[in-house]
């Protein structure tokens, strides 16, 4: 599956997608092991190691105040600009586990550091799975030891398998990016919208490149691109306790990307396309999802357009209509009106798949069957114009289905 499969994501001219078995960039090895955290017996402990001599890295985390132990430990104890390894597990989120959860996370961090031959502060942790369960430390350590023996450049698929939960398809990509002094590789493994027990969805993303770049550049690129991708999607509006995205650069290609250079821009464009592609794939694989929609909102005031876009994307009524292939735009107007409360009528314009259905808050005539056909595809676009100018935003979201409810309503442990 191409990471550029959506009409909303385009590969820049200097970016080429490689086959799925192209392996990790030079300077990286990965592996996955089945340590028994998942009742299914599927892989659940992943280890990713960077062997570059002067590696750099960057990380972003959930903003939740009930962030999981691995997030807290990584954010507070790691050298985020020079990470050399990632230990990831599925099957247990290690969230809502208090100080014992922090101790458990630290133990596995120590084991991963020993296995990778790096210091503890160079090992990032990431977990996904059921909240409120304590981490089975011994099992994770066993998984680390097994994974250590299997580390290889072609291990990205195994690593990916170890971080997946109920994901229906792989969200992984291998790109080649042409820079001024030669090509570099850009790889990513991502999971999202899945659950274990089934319990809870989490987004994890790990990106590797063999370009040589400074930690500030890595943080700038990752921060900018996450804001335009993973920050712009919603399956159910629920902020995870475990969301983590990490970019690691081995420098092994010898191709240097200087700050404020043309190549920084080119690598940024590639990373942007990559993360947007993965983000849309994540929505497409949303729990029970059948369609992906984009709501584009423009008008005056960034906070206003943002608030309306989020309200539309998270409205269960809009999402249920999207699921049913129902061009029921009254719910879009309702969601916008709820997001911007106040006595003055909101002069909102609405387009669905380029057909205007509402002008200054009032219904326009349209051919209902024709519009119903337009919203029956795999991707649907809504465009909203609010009064004023200068601000614009977008959010990608999935539909709300009976499968979402079934996945989340029934207890299976």
């Amino acid at each position: 599956m191409s990471v550029f499969g959506s009409r909303w994501v385009h590969a820049p001219g200097h970016v080429r997608e490689l086959p799925g078995d192209a392996g990790l960039p030079e300077g990286f090895r990965a592996a996955g092991a089945a340590a028994g955290l998942k009742p299914s017996g599927d892989p659940d402990v992943g280890l990713l190691v960077c062997d570059g001599e002067q590696p750099s890295s960057a990380a972003v985390f959930t903003s939740s105040s009930t962030a999981a132990a691995p997030v807290l430990v990584t954010r507070e104890r790691c050298r985020l600009g020079s990470l050399r390894a990632v230990l990831a597990n599925s099957g247990c989120a290690n969230a809502a586990t208090g100080s014992r959860g922090l101790d458990d996370a630290a133990k596995t961090q120590g084991a991963a550091a020993a296995a990778a031959g790096v210091s503890e502060a160079e090992v990032a942790l990431a977990s996904t799975g059921a909240i409120s369960h304590y981490l089975p430390v011994d099992a994770v350590v066993k998984g680390i030891l097994q994974a250590r023996g299997e580390l290889r450049r072609e291990g990205d698929r195994d690593f990916q398998a170890a971080i997946q939960t109920t994901d229906r398809f792989e969200k992984r990509a291998n790109l080649e990016v042409e820079l001024s002094s030669g090509p570099v590789r850009l790889c990513a493994q991502c999971k999202g919208a899945g659950m274990i027990s089934p319990r809870f969805a989490t987004m994890l993303c790990f990106v590797e490149t063999d370009a040589r770049l400074g930690a500030e550049t890595a943080q700038l690129l990752l921060g900018t691109c996450v804001a335009r991708s993973f920050d712009r999607v919603s399956v159910d509006g629920q902020l995870s306790t475990n969301d983590t995205a990490i970019l690691m650069a081995s420098g092994s290609s010898g191709v240097r990307v200087a700050a404020d250079s043309e190549d920084e821009l080119r690598l940024g464009e590639a990373l942007d396309a990559l993360l947007r592609g993965l983000a849309v794939m994540l929505v497409a694989d949303g729990e029970g999802a059948q369609r992906v929609a984009r709501v584009l909102v423009r008008g005056g005031g960034q906070e206003r357009v943002e608030s309306v876009a989020r309200a539309v994307a998270n409205s269960p009524l809009v999402k249920a209509a999207l699921h049913g292939g129902d061009p029921n735009w009254g719910r879009i107007v309702q969601a916008a009106g709820g997001a911007l409360p106040g006595p003055d009528p909101l002069a909102i314009d609405v387009w669905i798949e380029d057909r205007q259905v509402c002008s200054a808050g009032a219904a326009l005539p349209y051919e209902e069957a024709e519009l119903a056909r337009a919203v029956s595809g795999l991707e649907v676009e809504y465009e909203l114009a609010l009064p004023g100018e200068g601000a614009v935003t977008e959010v990608f979201f999935s539909d709300l289905s009976a499968d979402y409810v079934a996945l989340n309503a029934h207890y299976t442990t």
Copy 2:
């Protein structure tokens, strides 16, 4: 069905519930007519008239900036402190209809005023049904003329039928309230959580009393009690374009309720219990709902407890777990952490049906099967304590079911 059927709603000692056929308080007449707005042929135009000599009234409306035409016309053109009639219809929300919608609403207001023998500014309008459709004015006028001929004190049931949409049961109550100088009556007709096409949920509530009170008292009582009832419920977190609650007092009992008097307090307690009862009934009749939950949040900062309570009540993950009878409190912690983002861990305590499951953000041991039984009833209570003291709030909410999705996903016009 008693309005005091929930464990969270108690009838004060001076309040007695009357049979459903007790009729409206003295000074009120009502009727309902089938005018063809509903494809089913069910009643869809309701008329309520107050014949008191010195009536008073109060009204509260949706805060949506895409409020429907009947809301705009009533809020801006009516004498809200001395209303003498209500024209309500189901089958069409007259929302997202711009200036034509305002004209249409005004035409029906004029017809209702003529039918009731009052001025236009004394007629409140309320509509519920599909958004983005224009009001069939001729049909509504026909309904008004028919209803006029059937106005009577026992017409509250017909009026109720005319405002219902997909409500599965009547939300109506007749109370007698003992005041210091004699008894007064308090009646209400309410609809909510229903749809027409099926399209959209709206809350309407009309309350009548034969007490004699000033308009300021009416506004104070209604505002206070709505804030503690209809403002504290959520079926799907979606603010309606048409929400309207109106209190009318005919004064026909001769029992006067003075401002700042003991009787004002007693009437307020009765109205409070009535509206809370109706609000919980509304949640119980939420689209596809099988259970009602209350989330009680206490801690420091009213905005913080409010934000957490809303986030829990509107979390599709929490609501799906409620549906499945799953005591999956990790999602409650997740919703709270998302509502209060920030780097510092949130020391949250969680109780489910009086059993503490989380202390300072960390899981406590509990007997899973026993807890699962505790959340399998028709009403489930969650209690959350945040750090700090002094603030407390509650929100009542329904579960998220496949039926909710089915009701809202499929287009049937």
